[in-house]
């Protein structure tokens, strides 16, 4: 029953109910199956053999398996896995990176929240300082009354 070309149906796992063909018998417990399933080595215990067989060479390619199954009336669904594209390369600026403080100030200047410090041009003339009062002279109110 377990031979190359035997049609099998998967009875366990998330691909349960799908039909495949034995492509290679690895040993007493493992078989390589292809068809409506992923082409890989599976445990025999997860399959149930069907009555039909298909003419297939040992280790046949996926294309040969598809052709053989189509001749038997089983259409293998076409899966178009997306090919992984190239990773986008990080483009670094030619100039060196500014220090974090300068970066922040530059960002704030762009927003317009920080005004640049400029020299004060039209400042009014400073008033001359008032002469300092002598500490010795006492005000008239606090002066001691004259003794008569």
């Amino acid at each position: 029953m377990i031979e190359v070309g035997r049609l099998v149906i998967k009875t366990a796992g998330r691909s349960a109910g799908k039909v495949g063909v034995i492509v290679e018998v690895v040993d007493d417990t493992r078989i390589v199956v292809d068809g409506c399933l992923k082409r890989k080595s599976y445990s025999i215990r997860h399959f149930d053999a069907l009555k039909d067989t298909v003419k297939l060479a040992k280790g046949a390619s996926h294309a040969a398996v598809v052709k053989a199954l189509e001749g038997h009336g089983i259409t293998v669904p076409i899966t178009n896995p997306k090919k992984a594209g190239e990773r986008p390369k990080r483009v670094r600026k030619a100039k060196g990176k500014p220090a974090p403080k300068q970066k922040k100030e530059a960002a704030l200047k762009k927003e317009g929240t920080v005004r640049p410090v400029e020299a004060v041009k039209d400042a009014p003339a400073a008033k001359p300082a008032a002469p300092a009062a002598t500490t010795d002279a006492k005000p008239a109110m606090l002066a001691a009354p004259k003794k008569e």
């Binding site: 149906i9 998967k10 009875t11 366990a12 998330r14 349960a16 109910g17 149930d48």
Partner: protein, 88 residues
């Protein structure tokens, strides 16, 4: 005294200790029963027992196994069904 609405046995009693050091009884809602296989009646694996709100907020893949009839039939009943249909 226990208020009337807490006497129902659909609520479970949980003993708790408050930060103030008092021992109090909290009345919490019970979880639903485990899901059962439609074929043989065994408890299904991979199906969580949670109250409706938590089940609704859970993603679908967490609520049942990724297998045909996952969450409905157990693995043994599924195998029997597949073999029976293939041999017809």
């Amino acid at each position: 005294m226990v208020s009337g609405r807490h006497k129902s046995r659909t609520l479970r009693r949980v003993a708790k200790k408050t930060p103030g050091g008092r021992n109090v009884t909290h009345y919490e809602e019970r979880k639903p029963a485990a899901a059962r296989c439609a074929g043989c009646g065994t408890t299904l694996k991979g199906v969580p027992r949670e109250r409706p709100f938590r089940m609704q907020t859970m993603p679908k893949s967490r609520k049942r196994p990724e297998r045909p009839y996952g969450g409905v039939l157990c693995h043994a009943c599924l195998k029997k069904k597949i073999v029976a249909e293939a041999r017809r």
